[in-house]
């Protein structure tokens, strides 16, 4: 079972619908008991960094424990940004699972970035099986992740600068775009993630 953690930041039904479309067994959960034994965990999120960290605080230790145990973990959009140490958007510390910061999009471009942008693949990972350079994904964000270790970045897009789109390290991955709103290519990524999970 794939657990989508509902911590009160945004509508999770699109992600649930999209995973169901791929045939995965997926549930929206709100407490640690419900995700401790999950085969994989997804953290979505739309909104501001500090309010996300405040709402996620009661679950923080349980999330860190589950990830440490090796459970596959996916962060989407703001759910990707909270995996890092800190964000220019707020004062609260992030989950610190990945080292690096979240920074603002450059002033030379309109912010938020809203729309379909072309992926540049930096590193082949199984999550991106079937995805090619130039495939489009749907983005909505004003901040982006700047990992300390550049090799963490599996794909990026050009938007005023090289904007991190996909990160992957061990059992953790993060997507800045919305796979659940990115058409068949977005569903392909969710299928890859669900396929890598033993459930």
């Amino acid at each position: 079972m794939i657990a989508i953690i509902d911590y009160g930041m945004g509508n999770l039904y699109s992600i649930k619908n999209a995973f169901e479309k791929t045939g995965a067994d997926v549930r929206i959960v709100t407490d640690a008991n419900a995700f401790k034994d999950a085969d994989a965990i997804v953290i979505p999120g739309v909104g501001a960094f500090d309010s996300a960290m405040k709402k996620i605080a009661p679950l923080k230790q349980d999330i860190l424990d589950v990830v440490k145990s090796g459970t596959p973990f996916m962060g989407i959009c703001l759910g990707m940004q909270v995996l890092f140490d800190k964000s220019a958007e707020g004062k609260a510390p992030g989950l610190g699972m990945l080292s690096g910061n979240v920074v603002k999009l450059p002033k030379t471009v309109l912010s938020p970035q809203i729309g379909w942008n072309e992926l540049k693949i930096k590193k082949h990972i199984s999550l991106l099986d079937g995805i090619s350079d130039g495939d489009f994904f749907y983005f909505v964000h004003s901040y982006y992740c700047a990992p300390k270790d550049k090799p963490l970045v599996a794909a990026s897009v050009e938007y005023g600068t090289d904007v991190t789109a996909v990160v992957a390290q061990d059992n953790i991955c993060g997507l800045q775009f919305h796979p659940e709103k990115s058409g068949p290519k977005g569903l392909a990524i969710l299928t890859n993630f669900a396929g890598s999970v033993k459930c």
């Binding site: 509508n11 039904y13 699109s14 619908n17 999209a18 169901e20 479309k21 739309v46 909104g47 309109l110 938020p112 970035q113 809203i114 729309g115 379909w116 942008n117 072309e118 489009f136 749907y138 909505v140 050009e158 938007y159 659940e180 709103k181 990115s182 058409g183 068949p184 977005g186 569903l187």
Partner: protein, 270 residues
């Protein structure tokens, strides 16, 4: 680089249990084009970048039907879904978002209560609030207006409501700027002079509005063939084009239009 978006618009009459997509609302002869979620799924499979549902139901018992229509659509359509028509409060918007829509489009209600733009944008993010502007050319009473010199003479653009039946005196360019400042994510700009004509977009209107705001403008009204989409993308800063009838009756598929645009140098998602 962001792709230019191609957006099919489905005018929905929700007076029946499943709802119906209609075309020709401005004429007496209303034609039925299909069931909303079936058409939405077809457009999704054909490469639509977003889907817009516009509720044009006259009756008041439509809300439950819209919830069902959105829920069904969200199970099979995996691109952003915008819902407009009759959304007049934050709680109306909330119902639409909870059912699975990603954006709401507001028109009359925003003109009556501009703070609604701020409220939606603060709660759901800027991208979730589309402000629809129905603009009509006016060649008189130019004083104090933002005017544009067009091939037909100098004019200003007036905002209309209720599908072009009522006029507000509000300057469309002024209003677009205010909507941007209040937190709108897109301006859905329909030319009431061109809507339904198939003569092409009002390029002068689209250009003027798109150059006045910092948010994307969705051009609407008048598209009759793929060349019109190419023209609006090449002559204006519009980020998206919306069309209804050319897609509904299979005159052109969305993929046909996108292939044509790509061949002609417009950056689109294929």
């Amino acid at each position: 680089m962001l792709a230019k978006r191609i957006i099919p618009c489905l005018d929905c009459d929700l007076g029946t249990p499943e709802g119906r997509v209609v075309k020709g609302k401005e004429f007496k002869q209303i034609k039925y084009a299909g069931i909303p979620w079936e058409l939405a799924e077809k457009y999704y499979n054909d490469g639509a970048d977003e889907i817009v549902f516009l509720d044009i139901t006259a009756s008041s018992d439509r809300r439950e039907t819209m919830t069902d229509v959105i829920k069904k659509t969200a199970q099979s359509v995996f691109v952003p879904l915008t819902v407009g028509g009759g959304i007049s409060s934050l709680s109306d918007a909330r119902k639409v978002f909870t059912s699975g829509a990603d954006k709401v489009s507001i028109n009359t209600s925003a003109l009556k209560n501009p703070a609604l733009i701020n409220e939606i944008s603060e709660d759901y993010g800027r991208q979730a609030c589309v402000v629809a502007i129905d603009a009509k050319r006016r060649y008189d009473h130019l004083d104090g207006r933002i005017t544009v010199k067009t091939s037909l003479g100098e004019c200003w653009f007036e905002c209309s409501t209720h599908g072009g039946r009522q006029f507000t005196g509000m300057d469309a360019i002024e209003w677009a700027k205010e909507a941007d400042e209040r937190g709108a994510g897109d301006i859905l700009l329909t030319s009431m002079d061109r809507d339904g004509t198939k003569d092409g977009f009002d390029i002068e209107l689209t250009k003027a509005v798109a150059e006045s705001v910092r948010i994307p403008v969705i051009a609407s009204g008048g598209v009759g063939k793929p060349e019109h989409m190419r023209e609006v993308f090449q002559k204006t800063k519009a980020q998206a084009a919306l069309a209804a009838s050319i897609f509904h009756y299979n005159e052109y598929s969305i993929m046909d239009v996108k292939k044509y645009l790509k061949k002609n140098g417009v950056h689109v998602r294929i």
